[in-house]
């Protein structure tokens, strides 16, 4: 009998789509129940959003001023306490939020964690990538203990809304919360563009773009397509764009319908981040670049000449 507890990810009063992606993954275990846990200072709005997701039995809320920011040291003991109420699995998205908090929960429970589930075999067997996706392993977790896991969000579409909203229940846990970890600030890039992790179209630039100023070309083209903007590690390291745009093994793993890689050579660490994309387009002046090995459509040429031509052709 499996009961899955999914830890909701949210920011500024909005549920992140990573939560509905976890639900899709959880449904593949054919569990007896999937519950979503929302930790927040004022969880009502987020809980109402989560309650709509198809396949949810109920939404649990832990309202506490200490939960105003997602601090792993504060969240983990509360999640572990709720998990002990008969859950067989605790799932969180494999985003920086889930990666931060889930192992702390697992350690408190004294159980193993499966990171980055990309395929469910059964309730205790999963596939996950290792070596930057160069190998896929099947791991078997023990059935006699709770399992903590993170879900590779790019592998699962977000579950849609169901016909009826699930009930929302406030829960209480009696755990002592630490004061040794304090939130100071979150510097968010202000943007009206689609979110990189959930966008259906992404335009990414690499070292070939050449400078932060030149990246304006990428942003303009992305806006034309209504696409989110990403970047290779080389472009981030060179300071062209901030780190939250990085796509790859150690950045964001994404699965847009259309991915356009511009001036990106295609290091394996970058390809790891995009291999679930629907269609990959590569534009690079070097016809031998490894990006062309994975691209569905390749175009060799100077990006500064080709992008204006593409914009023209789109009109």
């Amino acid at each position: 009998m499996s009961r899955i507890l999914i830890v909701a990810e949210h920011l500024n009063g909005k549920l992140n789509s990573s939560t509905a992606r976890c639900v899709t993954c959880a449904r593949e275990l054919k569990p007896d129940a999937i519950d979503v846990l929302v930790l927040a200072e004022a969880p009502d709005a987020v809980a109402a959003e989560a309650a709509k997701i198809d396949g949810i039995a109920k939404v649990l809320t832990l309202a506490n001023a200490a939960n105003a920011h997602a601090l792993a040291a504060t969240y983990a003991p509360q999640i572990a306490a709720v998990a002990k109420n008969g859950y067989s699995h605790v799932f969180a998205p494999s985003t920086t939020f889930g990666k931060d908090v889930a192992p702390r929960v697992a350690a408190l429970l004294g159980v193993a964690q499966v990171s980055d589930i990309m395929k469910v075999i059964d309730a205790h067997a999963f596939q996950r990538p290792i070596y930057a996706g160069n190998a896929i392993i099947t791991v078997q977790a023990p059935a006699d203990q709770m399992l903590v896991a993170t879900v590779r969000t790019a592998s699962y579409a977000a579950a849609g809304d169901g016909p009826n909203a699930a009930p929302v229940e406030a829960v209480n846990v009696s755990v002592e919360l630490p004061t040794h970890t304090r939130f100071v600030e979150l510097a968010q890039g202000k943007t009206d563009r689609p979110d990189l992790q959930s966008a259906s179209r992404v335009v990414s630039g690499g070292r070939g773009v050449g400078s932060a100023e030149n990246f304006a070309v990428i942003f303009k083209f992305a806006d034309k397509l209504g696409a989110a903007v990403g970047a290779s590690r080389a472009a981030v390291d060179a300071g062209y764009v901030p780190s939250d745009l990085q796509v790859g093994q150690t950045g964001k793993i994404i699965a847009p319908e259309l991915y356009i890689a511009i001036g990106i050579s295609g290091a394996i660490q970058h390809l790891t981040g995009i291999k679930d994309a629907g269609t990959i387009v590569a534009i690079n002046k070097d016809g031998e670049a490894p990006i062309f090995e994975v691209a569905d459509i390749g175009l060799v040429g100077d990006l500064f000449k080709l992008i204006p031509e593409l914009e023209q052709a789109l009109n």
């Binding site: 702390r104 929960v105 990538p129 259309l258 269609t279």
Partner: protein, 248 residues
């Protein structure tokens, strides 16, 4: 203040790892091994804190087979004061690694522990968080900036939404992200000096660590290959191809 640095040896990041034909593992024979890149960043950060006078001693620690000594010598050549080698011939999973590192913490009483955010072999991204939980101390993961004053670390973290800054009371566990620093190169004279630095070997069994190796790897497979694509000759052809696929 002592700083303990986790220093794992992994297949070099430039190696394109191949799955063995029988699916029993990946090919590691004859493959170049190096320090996990995030651990080099962890060591570099510890050395910089020592150079700023914020730490007195930097200890590198690894859990691995007997031949991992040469790897620890590299850490000593980079500048660590001494090394701890927990010797075990079998690879340990993150929960076991965290429990082992906790034993080293109990022995050394460091004021700060710095680990890489993930090892690039198993890509688990768990050990630092687990260690912080078991130690009942703060964690500051995915660090891109660390400032220490008055026994408090102010850490900027690379999160999906941008850059988050948190404050943690020391002792604490910090895990490194790519842009925290650029690790120094090892100089030849330092390789000589490293040979005489203390390196303590500890038998894994002697630590009495309860195994947390609960996961069994059943099989390895190569990733699904994407089918070979087509080349187009100009912008107009590309737009046409995307329209055919219904993407525009």
């Amino acid at each position: 203040m002592k700083i303990l640095v986790g220093y794992k040896r992994v297949v070099d990041f430039n190696v394109r790892v191949q799955v063995k034909p029988d699916g029993s593992g990946v090919v590691t024979e004859g493959v170049k091994l190096s320090a996990n890149p995030f651990d080099d960043i962890a060591l570099e950060e510890a050395l910089r804190l020592r150079e700023k006078g914020l730490a007195t001693e930097v200890i590198v620690a690894t859990i691995g087979p007997a031949d991992a000594q040469a790897h620890l010598r590299n850490g000593l050549a980079m500048g660590a004061n001494r090394a701890l080698h927990v010797v075990t011939s079998t690879a340990v999973q993150p929960l076991t690694a965290a429990r082992t590192l906790l034993k080293l913490i109990e022995k050394e009483q460091p004021g700060l522990v710095i680990l890489g955010k993930q090892a690039i072999d198993d890509d688990s991204n768990q050990t630092g968080q687990m260690l912080a939980a078991l130690w009942n101390r703060p964690q500051a993961t995915f660090a891109s900036k660390v400032e220490i004053a008055n026994n408090v670390a102010r850490v900027t973290r690379e999160v999906d939404a941008g850059l988050e800054t948190i404050e943690v009371d020391l002792p604490a566990v910090i895990t490194t992200d790519l842009r925290l620093n650029e690790p120094r190169f090892i100089k030849v004279p330092d390789i000589m000096k490293a040979k005489s630095k203390p390196l303590e070997t500890i038998d894994f069994a002697s630590l009495g660590v309860e195994s947390g190796d609960h996961l069994k790897t059943v099989s390895h497979a190569p990733p699904a290959k994407r089918s070979k694509g087509v080349m187009v000759k100009d912008a107009a052809e590309l737009v046409a191809a995307l329209k055919t696929k219904g993407l525009l």
